[in-house]
Symmetry: C2
Subunit: 410 residues, 2 copies
């Protein structure tokens, strides 16, 4: 039995006409497949609008209540899509995250799926219903509503696809696939027909507009994920394990698959930290507890028993990060803390880079030739990231895109 | 232990400032009472806005999906009020209809409460939480969301008050109580300090802006209901059993308690119905099944084995009522169906009227003196209703208000 899980983003559901368009697409998928489950996000900017109302009602909205509030957006969408499907003669039913069996822990606002019990979904599919599931949400063991974090409707879709052993998961959005770089920044960016999970994970984590946790989940459960446009009938990009493997067997093609960019990065430097074992943990654990993502960490060589630590955070997290650093500064003997905003991360991503020297050198010289100064560098097995001034982001991306011959179609 | 159940209507929650105002009022009630449960409606015109979106997505929105959609409005309100309470230092938690234990049948859009299991509410009250419950909604035994019908947040409040054995139920709205007539129509209308359940039920059923089922429930479980303004600190009107009894023991005061008016009424006449036992049921049962309220039924004396039946419906129900009548017309030998729109019901309500003749005569002569023609008449034990032309509604109400000396304060 063929089963497809689809996901439609908020911009694809922003008004009644677009909702009807999504219903048509879901119906079309149902014509081609035995069973269809579709996950939907909240309409257009509804989530932001609800956040705005919450902020007017309370300076620090209670996380549990914020989740009750935000989860309503997806409930509205799934009811509307189910209605629209019924009005074009399809059997359809909407299910909330709770009804769909998405159990989570109680970390409101960023809950993790603890268990997925899709009995109700299977029951409805058995009655020949198309099942529309509210994305982005789950329910605790105590029946309290949780949300899974911004952009987590992707995660709902991939998790459902994994639990239902779907043939594939299709993410429909306002872009028509994964590009070698952000096309708004690099006009010559090329759409990729396919990409591996690991590469996609790095791209998503370093700026590409997709939920990294959903890629990770797809990788773990080996769910092929198609990213395509909900507005046009174009092939899109397939994220699947095979795409990594093609490269590993040494196919002759460019090993840099894409350029990821992320703006609004701030660098924080902590001066004169006592240099003893565990000092990094004492600093970075409280930052992690405060849900602040820390990246690109550099530790200077120890001079006279102290060391300087530099790391980056999202600019939006600067204030909370500084609060955390100040709270531990006495314990760690920190003498001074500095920060510099207005930075961006530019990364090249591709499996196989680790076996082929010269990628880093090529990256640095390419940036240097464009008169772009590198502030910090960090690497993974399949990624090299340079920190540059924010205003140089597009130039850096364009230079690297050309240097690694991504301008050319494959 | 004192326990109060409050209800706040949509106009009292139309924007963030009003939501904060409601939170202050709930907090104030909590300062005076051991425990407070508050039910809330959807913000402002949200329910209408959602209905509008649904109608754009589907000609006949599926009732189950419509309930999922509409129920989100109250979820948003209860989350926001709980947030606002927390931000002023009160412990508060929001609960959906399902979490509050409101079980219903599966008549989507007009579900009836089948069972109320307020364990979770009691548990939260025990933790010293103010409990904010989403009004207007419940859940079937299959965990599907239902709504209880327009204006049914009142019903949620009274049902919770009954189940929790609350001291009283307070309905806060945009009017400051129950009036002897609609003040927009009768400028001399007086606010009542108190009114009996039966009188209020007749007023509510015949045009006063309150959910009749909630009054009925209050009557059955003897829950005193206060209706008051959420904007001002005014005493309001207390609906309680004592107010009926005062009158029954023959207190010297005006026995007409109020004038109810209802516009947009249509009269349907069915000609030449075969006059045999069960003919009325054959006509009115399918109307009831189609959820059309029929009222003011008049049957003409039988001539040559046939009879003419006249009844009224809400003008909005005209098309569906005509559909039903046409469907049964062959069976009943109906020769012709006529209708006349643009009518209104004007009623006088008061316990004790049945024991005192002359009320009807006074009503008819008062209307006649104002040159208002009576189209049809219907009565209950404590109500006399006349059907008049819609444009005469205000004049009729004013004339009756004066004739029965309601212009004077008590």
């Amino acid at each position: 039995m063929s089963l497809v899980v689809q996901k439609y983003g908020g911009s694809s559901l922003a008004n009644p006409d677009l909702i009807k368009n999504v219903a048509k697409r879901v119906a079309f998928a149902h014509d081609r497949s035995d069973s269809v489950v579709a996950t939907v996000s909240a309409m257009g900017n509804l989530t932001d609008d609800l956040l705005e109302i919450a902020s007017e009602v309370s300076d620090r909205p209670d996380p549990r209540e914020l989740d009750v509030l935000l989860a309503t957006g997806e409930l509205q969408s799934c009811a509307l899509v189910a209605m629209a499907l019924r009005s074009i003669g399809k059997k359809a039913i909407s299910l909330s995250g709770a009804q769909a069996g998405i159990r989570t822990d109680s970390s409101y606002g960023k809950a993790k799926i603890s268990r997925l019990s899709p009995e109700r979904i299977r029951h409805e599919l058995g009655k020949d219903n198309i099942v529309i599931v509210a994305g982005f949400q789950g329910v605790t063991e105590e029946s309290d509503i949780t949300t899974l974090g911004r952009g987590a409707s992707d995660l709902t879709a991939v998790a459902l696809a994994a639990a239902l052993k779907a043939d594939r998961c299709e993410i429909y959005t306002d872009v028509d696939g994964i590009y070698t770089a952000d096309p708004r920044m690099v006009p010559k960016a090329q759409k990729l027909d396919e990409i591996g999970f690991e590469e996609m994970l790095e791209l998503a984590s370093y700026g590409a507009k997709m939920n990294p946790r959903s890629i990770e989940l797809g990788m773990v459960y080996n769910v092929p994920i198609l990213v395509a446009s909900s507005f046009e009938d174009l092939p899109g990009t397939l994220i699947h394990a095979g795409a990594d493997m093609n490269i590993e067997v040494g196919e002759i093609r460019n090993r840099v698959r894409g350029i990821a960019t992320e703006k609004e990065v701030t660098k924080i430097t902590v001066y004169s930290v006592i240099d003893r074992p565990g000092v990094a943990a004492s600093l970075f654990k409280p930052l992690a507890d405060a849900d602040i993502s820390v990246d690109v960490i550099v530790q200077n060589a120890s001079v006279s028993g102290t060391t300087d630590l530099t790391f980056t955070v999202k600019s939006a997290d600067l204030i909370s990060a500084m609060d955390v650093v100040r709270a531990v500064s006495k314990d760690l003997g920190i003498k001074d803390v500095g920060h510099s905003t207005g930075l961006a991360k530019v990364s090249i991503v591709g499996t196989g880079m680790q076996d082929s020297p010269g990628y880093a050198a090529k990256m640095f010289s390419s940036l240097s030739e464009s008169d772009i100064n590198i502030e910090m560098i960090t690497t993974s097995e399949i990624r090299i990231t340079c920190l540059v001034k924010e205003e140089a982001t597009a130039d850096a991306a364009k230079a690297l895109h050309e240097a690694f011959e991504l301008d050319k179609t494959e």
